[in-house]
């Protein structure tokens, strides 16, 4: 497997607090990786570094062999690197379809066309509708996104993340706040998208059921460092991991 994203010795400080401390990580294409770890382990900061929200204080990052350490966010998205957010981040007053159209138009280089109506963007609209079918929200296309249920907003969040047709997509706690039924649906969706779209997903997740059901590979983080990484079976048996999750052992049992 070739590495889609390679992080080399990345460090990120916030004042005296070292959020990420010398992390090196390779994310090969086609392997669904889950990043786990207690709160404050640096999982979301790692996503922020990888996707360009933060620039690391030290270290480099390579996407498909090209250095991207200082590349702006939107250019990383254009290269095929996208993400969803832990806290809901959708365009609440735009319609569901428009939420998907924004990334679709941006990827087609048509986001800045000033003098014709959206209806003339037939290809983009068709593609956005296809994505809405994929995330099972086709009937909601004209509703303002902010009026959707929490679960549907999560699906939309996922839809915006996959709309740029990324090769690598980070999902920050995709199942948070979902009912068991919705959670199962999101998991199936992620699994299906990774085979159908050949998108490599990296999920940050607290729910161990989701992690062990989905992941081909698990990265355990603690205090800004990678504690251990390996296939699920190996992680499940690892003593150090259990210690980090002391009190949460039943989750791993």
């Amino acid at each position: 497997m070739t590495d889609l994203l390679r992080i080399e010795d990345a460090t990120k400080r916030f004042g005296d607090f070292v959020a990420i401390n010398g992390v090196s990580l390779a994310l090969p294409a086609g392997r669904l990786t889950a990043i786990i770890g207690p709160n404050g382990a640096g999982k979301t900061t790692l996503i922020n570094l990888a996707t360009g929200a933060f620039v690391p204080d030290r270290g480099e990052m390579y996407f498909k062999g090209d250095e991207i350490t200082h590349l702006p966010v939107h250019q990383r998205v254009r290269k095929g690197l996208s993400r969803s957010f832990q806290v809901m981040n959708i365009f609440a007053h735009l319609s569901v379809l428009q939420n998907i159209l924004v990334p679709v138009l941006a990827m087609r280089g048509r986001a800045g066309f000033p003098f014709h109506e959206m209806t003339r963007e037939t290809e983009a609209v068709t593609e956005a509708r296809r994505i809405l079918r994929e995330i099972r929200l086709p009937d909601a296309e004209n509703l303002p996104a902010g009026t959707l249920s929490h679960g549907d907003q999560r699906l939309l969040e996922l839809g915006i993340a996959i709309a740029p047709a990324p090769e690598l997509c980070f999902l920050d706690e995709p199942s948070s706040g979902l009912t068991p039924v919705e959670r199962t649906m999101v998991m199936e969706l992620i699994r299906r998208l990774s085979t159908e779209r050949r998108t490599t997903f990296v999920i940050v997740e607290h729910d161990m059921d989701v992690v062990f059901a989905l992941a081909d590979w698990i990265v355990v983080m603690n205090r800004g460092q990678v504690l251990i990484e390996g296939p699920p079976a190996e992680i499940r048996e690892n003593h150090a991991v259990r210690e980090v999750y002391l009190g949460e052992e039943e989750l791993l049992a």
Binding site: H74, F85, Q98, F113
Partner: protein, 334 residues
């Protein structure tokens, strides 16, 4: 606002057609003063429409739009004083304001929220002090006087005199209508959608592949072009330009007009510009301290209709995007 566009309803279309017809007939049926007032309203409408592209659609509150209004006005005046050709004057005013907005925008759009508002206020006042201090060029506090209402001329081909107020009115009317139409198309285009996405969530837009700062700069420049057009229409009307048009209180006019009409509605700034002058015109008849009363009325209206006057129609016509703030209020009223 949906991409399968909800066409204007027949009633609204009829209303707009009647309004436009009435505007074209105005000089025949009304005296000099209503025609003059209509020009003031149209100019403020264009000015406010550009301002609301920033506030209502991109989520940026600029307090410095008078700077670009003044650049448009002074540039137009200087050109008309040198070359009496109205096309050249207005086009030059718009272009200069656009360039000024582009340059100051590069510095301003690096920031958002209150920092952006403060920066634009500072740049606006900087332009004001240039208008005030650079006597040789701007005439200082005397301003520029004797600006001709020059003919619309393409040398050697055509020359139409618009020296009469009624004729100049049609210049203002046609250019304003074109500017309104262009903005209407822009709002409904992919660019309009992208700007609204930035207003909703700039981080989300950036992670959707949108170069947010570039698009904020585009919006700022377009708003500057609109301010410049509004400004450029003024000197041929008044025959004079003075520094107060660059003052921050001029920047407040599109803010007030937009708040009056409604931030979240396309027509809001236009309706607001109309209300601005009508309210002002009525109050001025009764008191010299019109601004105080005007302020009280604006505050009352903003408290009464947080979504602007256009929000009254929100439930019946879907032209207005309902916002939670407005919706909450609507429930209370009901």
């Amino acid at each position: 606002m949906s991409p399968a566009p909800d066409r204007l309803s027949p009633q609204i279309t009829t209303l707009i057609v009647l309004l436009v017809v009435a505007l074209f007939l105005l000089p025949w049926v009304a005296g000099r003063y209503p025609v003059y007032l209509a020009m003031q309203i149209l100019i403020l409408a264009v000015f406010s429409l550009g301002f609301n592209l920033l506030l209502g659609y991109t989520g940026l509150l600029s307090f410095g739009q008078a700077g670009f209004f003044a650049v448009g006005a002074y540039a137009c005046a200087k050109i008309l004083l040198a070359v009496p050709n109205l096309i050249l004057g207005i086009a030059g005013g718009v272009a200069c304001a656009g360039v000024a907005a582009l340059l100051l925008g590069i510095l301003s759009v690096r920031h958002t929220r209150i920092y952006f508002a403060m920066l634009t206020l500072a740049f606006g006042m900087m332009i004001y002090s240039i208008a005030w201090k650079w006597r040789d060029f701007t005439g200082g506090d005397d301003g520029l006087v004797g600006i001709p209402r020059a003919p619309l001329e393409i040398p050697g081909i055509v020359s139409v005199s618009v020296a009469a107020m009624d004729r100049y009115y049609y210049v203002v009317l046609v250019l304003s209508l074109l500017a309104i139409l262009a903005m209407y198309r822009l709002i409904r285009s992919p660019l309009g959608l992208t700007l609204q996405a930035i207003r909703e969530s700039d981080t989300r837009a950036e992670f959707a592949g949108v170069p947010v700062r570039k698009y904020r700069l585009i919006a700022f420049t377009v708003a500057g072009l609109y301010a410049g057009l509004a400004g450029a229409l003024l000197p041929p009307l008044e025959n004079t330009v003075t520094p107060p048009i660059a003052h921050w209180s001029t920047s407040a006019e599109p803010v007030l007009a937009t708040l009056l009409g409604g931030v979240h509605s396309f027509a809001g700034p236009i309706v607001g510009a109309f209300l601005f002058f009508v309210i002002k015109d009525v109050i001025v008849r009764f008191t010299e301290y019109w601004l105080i009363w005007f302020g009280i009325i604006v505050v009352a209206l903003v408290i009464g209709f947080p979504g602007g006057v256009m929000s009254i129609f929100a439930r019946r016509h879907r032209r207005v995007v309902q916002h939670p703030d407005d919706a909450d209020h609507m429930h209370k009223v009901q």
